[in-house]
Symmetry: C2
Subunit: 372 residues, 2 copies
């Protein structure tokens, strides 16, 4: 197994500045790294790329001072910044398309090197649902599996409590130091001590509605599979399950009475092919092949290799107009754009990068983009 | 569609005598009919066949007087005797391997000509389970589907109650006139008036434990599919579901909490591939092709054609010894016996018939036989 490498302090600093800059999301981050060879070089190129994408006012780059303040705040919160591909970065998470380039973590970091299963569900869970989540987390822990959840009320809380003694990972939607909901402060403190807390957002970020789906992709991404214990239709847990499917993770669901609205979502997952789960053994059986193999190798991305050639400006002028016409407010797969516009992938990726940095498009899961 | 034919009064009388005779079950009944051309001819041949099978004392044939008494009792119970293949014999039931040659029925017989779905489950059902069974029976009834069940406490009772206004069929384990459990006498009376009651056993039979599995094969056999609402592991409802599978019927199950032992059996069915059912639409969707087509043609069996040749005694002597050796107290498929002993199917069937009438073997579902 290749030893995962550590970033140098200055690389880490540039990574932080780049990912915190305006309009730079994980997909763009890694594309910039691939194109420019390093975060530092990408930072220098950013303003020009955004300008070419049609940006009028200057792009808001994260200043060195701001990055230094965040570094200090992370230390102050008793946390650490871990980069994609470093030894403490969860291997499963590193494999997803839009893996966070940097995460903030706090607690027993060695837990991040173990296999994990997510246990999530309704905030307004039934007493039985909570008991089930607690017990199955305990059973998974007894098999050395780390239990991932979202520190929410209800199922999440029970799952964390059940796995506290053996290994629990709380992925929070805001900053590493922001406890939400407030009633879980005691549990948060226990997890920070005995388990691990993980955040993608900068220290101090108060979670907004839009942060939760982003957080959910990390819950499923960090796990081999996601168990949904109780969930209403159109609930956050079903978003996590959908991410799990997109990421090639197993989805497990606990059956429940059709008369209980909290079981509609889980029963629906079962109808769609989720594995019916009555106890930990259902999960252990389905994940046996993954659990038997060691954690996957540290992943490699193109950015370790030489950056690819960037298309000439002459190639791009007409292509920009074509792509703008093809884009719409409803998300469209990038592959579809390449096919429809009959442009080379390199040209399309270059222009989408410009548009994104200019704030004209937004990326969504499944490698899709939409006009803002 | 071929018009199903009615038996003549004397044929019906002979059928009754034959099926009520000692050691004659449904499979044997139809084999005898196929071999001897009529029930009357089979009755005459019975003592000799049993003797050849090793029977020492005389076989207990049903006397004409006993058959006449039963005919009278059926009339006295306000019931009718319906033969396999007659217009009032449920088409779906006629298609199973061990269909009862004669059934006693009472109530609105036209319901027996409609498509049916069985709804069964735990006697000690939860309030929610009973409510669910009642409501789904009502929904199925609204789509002109007759609901079949077993008149037991709990789920069965709720299913009958929900479908009373539209069409309900109670298959009882004892005689048509024996109400079991006693607390369901009121429901029984209502069903006899507005729905149908069906029995395989003679009038007056008090149901014994061994009658219930036999009854369950009729519940599933009379239906296009079986819905199990709540069921513990190793419960009678799971036997009905197993019969359904053997008979090529659809199996439906309602999901429930893994913490409730009454849902273990149903969740187990879901794991084995039963269709997860939250409402009648799940059933209607899965059965759409069957529901869209008219009831199947009245079935035909070999007994309508000329009887096949019976093997010579010289062929049978050595074969009897071979088969006796191959048989054991654990059930073995008849096909397996044919293969292992390298005998012709005609020889094996002939000898098994002899052994059965002699009381030396017993038939079990899936065309299996075992030594008594």
């Amino acid at each position: 197994m290749t030893e995962a490498r550590l970033l140098t302090p200055s690389e880490r600093f540039d990574w932080l500045r780049l990912i915190r800059s305006e309009n730079v999301g994980p997909v763009t981050f890694f594309q910039l790294l691939a194109r420019y060879g390093s975060a530092g070089a990408a930072l220098e190129a950013l303003p020009e790329i955004a300008r070419r994408g049609g940006r009028q006012r200057a792009l808001n780059l994260t200043t060195k001072a701001a990055a230094e303040r965040e570094m200090k705040a992370i230390e102050g919160a008793g946390a650490r910044l871990v980069a994609w591909g470093e030894p403490d970065y969860p291997r499963a998470l590193a494999a997803i398309d839009d893996a966070p380039p940097l995460i903030t973590v706090r607690g027993q970091l060695q837990l991040l090197r173990r296999h994990a299963v997510a246990v999530v569900g309704a905030r307004n869970a039934s007493a039985n649902g909570k008991r089930f989540a607690h017990d199955i987390a305990l059973q998974l822990g007894a098999r050395d599996i780390v239990v991932v959840s979202g520190l929410a009320r209800g199922i999440d809380t029970a799952a964390h409590q059940g796995s506290l003694p053996t290994g629990t990972l709380a992925v929070v939607a805001g900053g590493i130091d922001v406890v939400y909901p407030e009633e879980n402060r005691g549990l948060y403190d226990e997890i920070a001590e005995r388990g691990v807390v993980l955040a993608e957002m900068p220290v101090g970020t108060v979670p907004q509605a839009r942060h939760f789906p982003r957080r959910n992709r990390i819950i499923s991404g960090a796990a081999l599979g996601v168990l949904v214990v109780e969930a209403a239709l159109r609930s956050g847990s079903l978003i996590t399950a959908r991410f799990a499917l997109e990421q090639g993770r197993e989805v497990f669901a606990v059956p429940g009475s059709p008369l209980d609205p909290r079981c509609r979502g889980t029963n629906d997952l079962l109808k769609s092919g989720a594995t019916l789960t009555e106890s930990a053994s259902d999960i252990l059986e389905a994940l046996a092949p993954q659990l038997a193999s060691p954690l996957s190798e540290p992943p490699r991305r193109a950015f370790i290799d030489a950056p690819p050639a960037i298309p000439e400006e002459s190639e791009l002028v007409e292509a920009r107009r074509q792509l703008l016409e093809a884009l719409s407010p409803s998300p469209v797969p990038v592959d579809e754009l390449v096919r429809q516009c009959q442009l080379s992938p390199a040209v399309v990726l270059t222009i989408l990068l410009e548009f994104e940095l200019a704030g004209r498009i937004e990326r969504s899961p499944g490698n899709q983009v939409s006009l803002l």
